[in-house]
Symmetry: C2
Subunit: 522 residues, 2 copies
């Protein structure tokens, strides 16, 4: 039994072994799945493509929600809730929109069940009009906005919704691409184009702020090319992050919808000048995909690493008492320590502490918390109590790199330590991204950059290669499509901070007005 | 224009007129719809039976969520998220359960759309097995619990989910009965019957605590008769409130599921004694129906009245400046007052204050806030500033019953005032319920109690009559069904605090072991 326990969760053999098998280098995709599993974040459900978000994963999502919700409210938005179902005819109101979602939507056709000829239940009560489970809510919210907006005094209308949505994806991956996912979708209506454009950029900025300062994930802000736009949008803006396999991940989008949806839904208002006008609308969203982005930005071969500002538990305290007669004293000491830590504030809330007093081998316990990515682990045994010290392990350092320090000093400095870990994670992720971002000017270099090789240290794993290529583009959608087909590379965005440098398209040699960001992507 | 504005929202004519037409006495059902409309809480959507929850209504729901979520976590529960869809075969695993929901469920049969012969889109990609949009999640969560529970060490498993659910109701009413609604569903698994029963009662107690101390809504706690049980449950417990038309409203339920669902889903564990056993499970839920209960418990003929502890805005400040030259001074003064109020805590959060500086007639503004049910309204004009006073109106008193008081005294006492209003609302609701609860011992009195009459003050509206009848019942389900058919009266619950008084069934005269609560109900 104890031999069995020894193996559970703990890396085996020497220092080179890791808690997650395989490592990133060995098999990046499988490593991701194993990090999710070992971190107790989510699992596949019996329903095709739908995931179960487990308590630890959901607690991270709750923190994402809490912080973003505060940011939305601080920028004047209010939450509301709209129907799960969209009548088929509503979806059809915007031509590009329905084209974009028709191939991947769940369709409700009946409203009850009855016993079939063999006694088995079958659908019954066919609906006159099929209902689509919302893949996004522009059309149903648009129909409501048309009622709410009558006069320029009703504008701007700034609404957000936290909801589940369904897109029938054929190939799913936990958090990154699932048939059902959780998200927020902001929907706003404005009197002028300028105001709507300003809102689009404001919310892109909110997402970038959240990504960098809460997720410790550096992002590029940019505009999508036509081929990558949201179906029905006039412009789509995005934040793009680099994962550890150097692929890009679109972490949030903000759409300027122009008057496309207001015309489709008849969102009209009487302006101050006495004219009847169509409103200008925007929509913007982030989803549980952010959890996937967080995992792939920060985790290592020992598992998850949660940025402290989003961690459900900041500090876990592990009582170390080998003799039964000291167990209660050690536990009491740990609980007092937890109390003192909880009296400290970090990032707008009390420091969250868990005392893990489970009857489990200490090593197993520690490895569980490592794999869950808790930022700080504290070990306290009888000798530490005697010395008034604690043994501190940081998730952003090796598991053997532990440090003894005076208990009170640790308590006083805990919030600063968490912020230091947060800052370090952002700096590390930024350095990684910068190291794999390259300015490229020739087709040959471009193709080589995106071609996996098995030689050389840098490309040990064929999955891990490439990065962000800053290269010129002539603007031809056909060229973009050809590169996508041939190399699996797309234009992630036209960066907002693009220099006005002109040049020649890296593919065609035709004139270009600026560099864009090319990458393989999720 | 000004004549038009004068009418908007303000009661017309003398003191007897009200902001809501019709009044409760005139037409209770229609009064309810008008309170919801005037309070800007929710509206019907273009999707059959589904509602749009508007920002003010959703903000109240957010407060409900925040408080309940804290109570769930304080009792050891963690949130998670499970799929929206349930495979038909899962629903069929528990025979009573599927019978209970088969007649009212949304069925997904296809996963994409294609152009039909006439160019119109039609469902395509038929699913091998239809999916049901969850009406409740016992079966899908049960399948997951079966994986999570292996040993007695995995128990108790205490999970909650915040989610949307769909029950295809034919007759819907905003908040009270809608095809889609928002709720929380707790699902727990335990090693013993006793522990599961204890959990069932604990969560019933949490609901009763929330109803009384946060919603200011007194509730009876009790057990359901067999006919009113949740499909598949061994016992269903509930909290029942009395609305102002004296009908009962079931505001929350807590189910002891025995081993029915653990057997259907194979939730088994290896107990400490080495035996393989089925777990004992519970489930419990409250929904957006609570908002409907809150409306009908507290609103009056001027509209909504939100209990201060759940109010999105506690105090609204109305600057009164008739001359342009004083407007800025008054506004500045109001903003400073708002700041000082926000520095005070009430019910675990800062006092929420809104300064309504909109360019609208003062009377119209005031009536909007009355109809939204904000607990306290403050008017501040140049003379009040001079005198260092504020003009205070309370939603629980008449709109003309306003009081001038020193500004600083008001600020210091604001939290106490809010609690006083809260306490008053609970006391009033309790007095109303008690006044319409009657101990009944004869069939004649029972029938008269539940028969609307048009004579006498007490029964001015045929809709408003009856109440809670405490009467003996022989326990025969057929009798219960007959009374339901004939009088529209059901047994709301067998109260937990039932005396052990024996007697004779009010309908059959057969022996009874205790009084039960009969009422018409929502």
């Amino acid at each position: 039994m104890s031999g069995n326990e020894k193996q559970k969760g703990a890396p085996q053999g020497g220092a080179a072994k890791t808690a997650i098998t395989p490592t990133r280098e060995e098999n990046y995709s499988e490593w991701y799945q194993q990090v999710v599993r070992a971190g107790d974040l989510a699992e596949n459900s019996p329903v095709r493509g739908c995931m179960v978000i487990k308590p630890w994963g959901y607690a991270i999502w709750e923190n994402v929600q809490r912080v973003l919700d505060g940011m939305f409210k601080a920028t004047g938005h209010r939450n509301a809730y709209f129907p799960l179902f969209i009548p088929l005819s509503f979806l059809e109101k915007e031509a590009q929109h329905v084209d974009g979602f028709a191939k991947e939507c769940a369709v409700v056709t009946h409203h009850r069940l009855k016993a079939g000829p063999d006694g088995k239940l079958v659908p019954d009560g066919e609906l006159e009009e099929p209902l689509i489970v919302r893949p996004t809510s522009e059309t149903i919210i648009g129909a409501t906005f048309a009622k709410w907006v009558q006069s320029y005094r009703d504008l701007p209308l700034l609404i957000n919704q936290w909801a589940n949505v369904v897109r029938w994806e054929m190939r799913t991956r936990l958090f990154l691409r699932t048939a059902e996912f959780l998200w927020q979708e902001g929907h706003t209506a404005h009197a002028t184009r300028e105001e709507a454009e300003e809102e689009t950029m404001r919310m892109l900025g909110v997402y970038a702020d959240f990504a960098e300062n809460w997720m410790a994930m550096p992002v590029l802000q940019g505009r999508k090319t036509e081929g990558e736009r949201f179906p029905g949008a006039e412009e789509t803006y995005c934040i793009e992050a680099m994962m550890q396999d150097r692929k890009a991940l679109q972490a949030g989008t903000s759409h300027f919808l122009g008057q496309n949806f207001s015309k489709a839904s008849e969102i009209q208002f009487l302006d101050a000048d006495g004219q009847q006008k169509y409103a200008w609308t925007t929509s913007w969203g982030v989803s549980t995909r952010l959890i996937g982005a967080m995992i792939m930005t920060h985790s290592d071969d020992d598992g998850l690493c949660v940025p402290p500002r989003l961690a459900p538990t900041h500090v876990v305290i592990l009582p170390v008492a080998h003799k039964p007669e000291t167990a209660q004293q050690v536990l009491d000491h740990c609980r007092k320590l937890a109390e003192d830590l909880r009296a400290q504030q970090f990032a707008g809330r009390p420091i969250e502490v868990e005392v893990d007093a489970r009857d489990l081998r200490g090593g197993d316990k520690m490895w569980q918390w490592v794999k869950k990515g808790v930022p700080v682990r504290i070990e306290v045994g009888p000798r530490d109590i005697e010395q008034g010290s604690v043994f501190v392990g940081r998730r952003d350092r090796g598991t053997k790199d532990k440090q003894s320090m005076p208990r009170d000093e640790f308590v006083r400095g805990a919030a600063a330590l968490l912020q230091e870990i947060q800052d370090g994670m952002l700096a590390k992720a930024r350095a990684f991204r910068d190291a794999h971002t390259r300015t490229i000017d020739t087709t040959a270099e471009f193709e080589a950059f995106f071609t996996p090789t098995r030689t050389g240290d840098e490309n040990a794993s064929p999955e891990i290669h490439g990065g962000f290529a800053l290269a010129h583009f002539c603007g031809d959608a056909a060229v973009e499509a050809e590169v996508k087909d041939r190399l699996g590379v797309t234009i992630r965005c036209i960066p907002l901070e693009a220099s006005s440098e002109t040049g020649k398209c890296v593919i065609t040699g035709r004139p270009s007005t600026g560099r864009v960001v090319w990458a393989k992507s999720y």
